[in-house]
Homo-oligomer: 230 residues x 2
């Protein structure tokens, strides 16, 4: 038990940051960038699905999945179910969000997979999938032996946090990359849109930080020390 | 004590990644980008000091400072001295590295402090400085009361790791930002230099990951549980 702050209190700050980040990415893509569409002659609208799905779908829901196991006042089996279902939703929305980026690239003749953002993005989604499948098999169904479970748990937490931090960092790379493209095409470096995008990235990073602080904080039920082995 | 791997073993992997990253950033700046200079009519050479000082000076030495406290087989007071001296060197080289970026911008008429990379960079160096001063006052000289020390320690570790992760993430932002500028000016997206810069960023991220794994690994002396309170 690292820090004496209660996990649910920290998770409330994270929820507030999640709402702020979600609103900001929607204002950016809809108000400043023209809206969202899966099919359109305006290929930018296809791209816009990418930050929305990655931030709201993958990172925010993924973060809520992480916090749910620590901060919800439920029984262990119920929390486990919430945890794995939320992570599954995050993973699926993340995959759709990545498909939106490829669809935009392919329909706009933009090269694929040359940037650090794309490389790390593919790495993150693959590691996230592996982590989910391993967690499902060992901790849910069919379930490993008690020895395997207790040996796997700290690795599950550490690897999960590593992938989540990578995802948050990669979101920042994405915001910076897209904004750099726009600024190279004439967007004002100190204009409202640039400031909004930078602050969306900062809110995303703060959300990620509070998700992780929640993991190291005090669980609501004192008999639950599932995460305190780290 | 989270994971059963020994801290010195993990730190060897980190050292190897540090050497690889240092070589890569030097090859990039010297072989591909023309070299390093504090004063030059070729302003790019001034910029080149920035990635070199931030990666080798700030992140690598800062990471070694973090690991030293966990992985060196020394007495607590000796490790503390190594830890704070290495962090001081990292902080000073980081500040010089940031000055190099401003010097290049000012002499090349490039606007300052508009990008996410620059915003986070200023935040990181300020937080790093605050963390160093607080750590010095509470844990070294004049030193806080035993109660204050033991209450501060998990926060010192957590906040320190947070700032270090931010620094590593921000290095990735810097590599991506610079490479995006170069690619917009015609550099090949799949060329040798682009691949080198992306892999330098990935080696930096892996180094950061192994530094953090070291913190959660097993200390060489079993009586030292300074970090196991997390």
């Amino acid at each position: 038990m690292g820090i004496g702050v209660k996990a649910p209190h920290l998770s409330f700050v994270a929820h507030a940051l999640a709402v702020a980040g979600a609103v900001m990415v929607l204002v950016w893509t809809i108000h400043f960038r023209g809206g969202l569409a899966w099919d359109s002659s305006n290929k930018n609208l296809i791209f816009n699905l990418h930050p929305v799905l990655m931030l709201i779908g993958f990172i925010i829901i993924g973060g809520e999945a992480i916090m749910s196991y620590k901060s919800l006042p439920l029984k262990k089996e119920e929390k486990k179910l919430v945890h794995l279902v939320l992570h599954a939703i995050a993973l699926i929305l993340g995959i759709i969000g990545i498909c939106a980026a490829f669809k935009n690239h392919n329909e706009s003749a933009i090269p694929n997979l040359y940037s650090l953002h794309s490389w790390i993005g593919i790495g993150v989604i693959v590691l996230y999938g592996i982590q989910w499948i391993y967690g499902f098999l060992v901790f849910f169904y069919p379930g490993g032996s008690p020895g395997l479970r207790s040996e796997s748990l700290p690795w599950h937490v550490l690897f999960g946090l590593f992938v989540f931090i990578l995802a948050v960092g990669n979101a920042s790379l994405g915001f910076l990359e897209k904004l750099t493209f726009l600024e190279n095409s004439g967007l004002g470096k100190y204009g409202a849109e640039a400031i909004l995008v930078n602050f969306t990235a900062i809110v995303t990073i703060l959300y990620g930080a509070f998700v992780i602080f929640t993991v190291f904080a005090q669980a609501p039920q004192e008999d639950d020390h599932s995460y305190s082995s780290l």
